[in-house]
């Protein structure tokens, strides 16, 4: 997926200004940067919630503008940061909503939904009211919903995750991120994830894209984050270094 000359402004301030950004399949791409860098805005542009003012996003050799609503729904999905459901659906019903753009028989749908819930570790919550769940549990249910949504893509789909670890406990954070690497590695998804915890980036991301003031300042491997210069330039943070006998570790 290639983004070129993307510009997006609101109220006369340029929020996104990206010359060129290539996102690859089979890999987890971490989108990082300080608050207000434009990470969420960029995600919203990628999932077509917002439209760029100019520039082009080419996904599977076609400008994303030319994709129909249904094609987009089956190939691009986003896990929102929080959910705001108004009526008491069960967790299971929320996951079935992922099948809205799909054509499935009842049976196929049930299997797919249960599989997705198993993969994200929320099958035991199946019959509980979604609104009664904790933020972290809700997010896992939503992830299952998003996976159902992408399950019938003809070409490798794009999975966007907006700070998926923010509401999870320690073990669940790692489980969820491991899950996303599985989708990238085994199913060939394009995975773009907004993360704040740089330890997670080092552990799970294959590529990093560092945003600041709406522009891409660095792209490359997560090892970029070991550079003191980048941390200072981008976040204005001087990392402490932990020295042991034969190595130096950065403490974020």
């Amino acid at each position: 997926m290639l983004l070129e000359n993307i510009k997006f402004s609101r109220n006369r301030s340029l929020l996104i200004n990206i010359d060129r950004l290539d996102v690859l399949p089979d890999r987890v791409t971490a989108l990082i940067g300080p608050n207000g860098a434009g990470k969420s805005t960029l995600l919203k542009i990628l999932c077509r919630e917002l439209r760029e003012d100019s520039g082009s996003i080419v996904f599977h050799d076609r400008n994303i503008k030319d994709w129909s609503r249904f094609e987009l729904a089956r190939h691009v999905a986003i896990l929102p940061q929080s959910s705001n459901l108004v009526f008491p659906f069960t967790a299971y019903e929320v996951v079935t909503l992922g099948a809205t753009p799909l054509r499935l028989t009842q049976n196929a749908m049930r299997q797919m939904v249960e599989q997705a819930m198993k993969n994200t570790g929320c099958l035991d919550l199946k019959d509980t009211s979604f609104m009664a769940l904790s933020g972290g549990q809700q997010q896992r249910v939503q992830l299952a919903r998003v996976l159902v949504q992408l399950s019938q893509a003809d070409k490798p789909p794009l999975l966007l995750l907006d700070e998926p670890t923010s509401a999870q406990d320690l073990a669940q954070q790692h489980k969820l991120l491991e899950q996303t690497t599985v989708f990238a590695k085994e199913k060939g998804y394009y995975v773009v994830v907004v993360l704040h915890d740089l330890n997670h980036v080092l552990n799970y991301a294959d590529d990093v894209v560092i945003l600041k003031n709406g522009s891409v300042v660095e792209t490359g491997s997560p090892d970029l984050l070991k550079s003191q210069r980048i941390l200072e330039n981008v976040w204005g943070y001087t990392p402490r270094l932990s020295h042991s006998s034969n190595s130096t570790t950065v403490i974020y």
Partner: protein
């Protein structure tokens, strides 16, 4: 921490119970009244036949149709506004429709068979769009704005209808008071037929949107990501709701709270899935309104209560408890 599973009734069982209730309430509505018939006391004389076929049956059919229409529109509006407090009466749509109906009655008396439902629809549509515009905020639909807009529109509409009743002649005055409190006594073939056609069209059109309405409960952005043309759907459903409410109001005046109470009860019984919510709300609304009308006819027989009074007596306490439940979620 163990979270309890959601307990629900099977939709098919609920439907069966509602159909049985509808049969019972229909039989009661036909046989009870100032003149009582026993089902076992056949055959009936000409006079009894006339009472049944010319008064009670048409009225019963209108009650069933209007109840189904109001409950259906209430369920769809709650889904669209993503709020359980949205109801044609509370949001001011019924008042807008009544205002349209009254204006047409006073200004175009000769054409009232068709102009009244049409003007009621126009009045309903204008108010729905107005309320919609006012209640939309970047965070979603604002409950407070929704209710305030409803109050403002009801006050304005009530005032204009009140003024009309001062300048109207005797016949028009009677019709106007009917619209303010609701009555099914004016059941005619044409109003029943219009309600029937509207119910069939709306029932099928809304049902086609039930998946989309379900997705909308996740949020507008989420629904869009699931491939739904949210803007187009909203506009269509708003127009259809205004048609439904307009037709119901033109036939029977303002009957409040049916659209609020019924979908809420059905949701508690069988869950919020619109695939089952919409048809079951229609059934339940029909049952509720036919029972309310029975009550309105019998309470001070041989005189009658306006049916809007009965539904308000039932619905207002219910509305109150709903507000208390919602209190924590109000945003100021």
């Amino acid at each position: 921490m163990e979270i309890a599973s959601v307990k629900r009734m099977a939709p098919s069982h609920t439907a069966l119970v509602l159909v049985l209730l509808m049969v019972v309430s229909s039989l009661l509505a036909v046989s009870l009244g100032p003149m009582k018939f026993s089902l076992f006391n056949m055959p009936l004389g000409d006079y009894e036949q006339a009472v049944i076929w010319q008064l009670r049956v048409p009225r019963l059919i209108l009650a069933l149709l209007v109840g189904a229409l109001l409950a259906l529109c209430g369920a769809v509006m709650q889904g669209l506004f993503r709020n359980p407090l949205a109801d044609p009466g509370i949001a001011g749509v019924s008042t807008g429709a009544a205002l349209g109906a009254v204006l047409s009655l006073v200004l175009l008396p000769a054409w009232s068979v068709f102009s009244t439902p049409f003007c009621a629809f126009l009045g309903g549509l204008v108010t729905t769009l107005l309320v919609w515009r006012l209640a939309q905020s970047p965070q979603g639909t604002s409950v407070v704005m929704l209710l305030l807009a409803g109050i403002a529109i009801s006050a304005f509409g009530g005032a204009v209808i009140g003024y009309m009743s001062y300048v109207a002649d005797d016949q028009a005055l009677r019709d106007i008071s009917l619209w303010q409190m609701g009555s099914l006594a004016g059941a005619t073939r044409s109003s029943t037929a219009i309600c029937f056609v509207a119910l069939v069209i709306l029932g099928f059109s809304f049902y086609r949107y039930s998946n989309a309405l379900n997705a909308l409960l996740l949020g507008e952005a989420e629904a869009r990501h699931l491939g739904i043309d949210v803007e187009g759907m909203k506009l269509k459903l708003i127009v259809l709701c205004a048609i439904g409410v307009g037709v119901a109001v033109a036939a029977s005046g303002i009957i409040g709270f049916v659209g609020l109470v019924v979908p809420h009860c059905v949701r508690m019984l069988t869950g919020p899935n619109h695939k089952t919510l919409l048809p079951l709300s229609m059934l339940c609304g029909a049952v509720l309104l036919s029972l309310a009308d029975l009550f309105a006819r019998l309470w001070i027989a041989p005189a009658e209560l306006p049916i809007g009074l009965v539904t308000a007596l039932l619905g207002a306490p219910f509305f109150f408890t709903l507000i208390i439940q919602q209190r924590s979620r109000f945003q100021y």
